[in-house]
Amino acid sequence: MARVPIVQGEHHVAGEPGLVISTLLGSCVAACLHDPVAKLGGMNHFLLGEPGDDNPVPKAEMTRYGIHAMELLINGLMKRGAQRSRLRAHLYGGASIVANLGDIGQRNGLFARKFLQTEGIVLDRCELGGTQARKVEFMPYEGRVRSSLVRDVPLPPVAPVKPVVEAESSGELELF
């Protein structure tokens, strides 16, 4: 069985029978989207809701934000033939595990729910909150998800947020 593990800031779209996309979540949220007609699905894993003017995250790490992570996932699905109106969602994560992170998990969960509501995407299953990490395994072809609470398992390290320093050459084309 093929497995595709993803970490914070990543997403993956697939439509192969039996393939599993997996991730491990603490305060982060993962959205699993599935198009039951196209037999396609995808999962992302994001750290924060959306950037503000004072955001401390460098451009290269903007996919940590849910608003961009969700768009990348939806666009990835649509490129493969999914239709936005058919998408069904599952949400996982948003736990409060580390005390000094405040209510970041709760805010991530609220963002994710509001995003789906705003975009008109049906939420079939929602396992947000709590105080334990979760392991999520999503079968995108079948649209099946298995989620389990994890005790005493170290979470993937959260990369420190660096100050905003744009690289001199970001690989973008310079037009003007």
Binding site: E50, P51, G52, D53, N55, V57, K59, M62, T63, Y65, I67, H68, M70, E71, L72, I74, N75, M78, R84, F115, T118, E119, G120, V164, S170, E172, L173, L175, F176
Partner: protein, 129 residues
């Protein structure tokens, strides 16, 4: 230095949340007259009927993508010179080259922070007040 409050903007993106985020970013920059549409198909007649100074449009949209929208705008005798800023994905260099050939004024690579949008707008209009 143009006053942001005097610039009429049309924001086009098929994702409601992204339109809302761009709208908030523009409001923070001082823009007052902000319209938005979920598709280029709806935005094109809207900007023809009521002209704007600036169009900020996503590239990746169903039915009519950002390049087709840009082409239609540039081909129109009335709105052809409207400033057009395209939002693209990081892997869309070919799209940017095509957009440049079609006369795009600038582009912003998604995902982006509000400061990046400000910078790209100011490169076209000059420093906003």
């Amino acid at each position: 230095m143009p006053a942001a409050s005097a610039i009429k903007v049309m924001v086009v993106d098929d994702q409601t949340s992204m339109r809302a985020m761009i709208r908030r970013a523009l409001q923070d920059l001082g823009f007052k007259d902000i319209r938005d549409k979920p598709s280029a198909v709806e935005a094109l007649p809207a900007v023809k009927a009521d002209r704007v100074h600036l169009i900020i449009s996503d590239y990746n949209m169903p039915d009519m993508d950002g390049l087709q929208f840009l082409e239609a705008v540039r081909a129109d005798g009335t709105i052809g010179k409207t400033v057009f800023i395209m939002l693209t994905g990081s892997a869309d260099k070919e799209v940017v080259q095509k957009a440049a050939a079609l006369g795009v004024n600038n582009y912003v690579v998604k995902p982006f922070a509000p400061a990046a949008l400000k910078e790209k707008i100011e490169r076209v209009f000059g420093e906003l007040t």
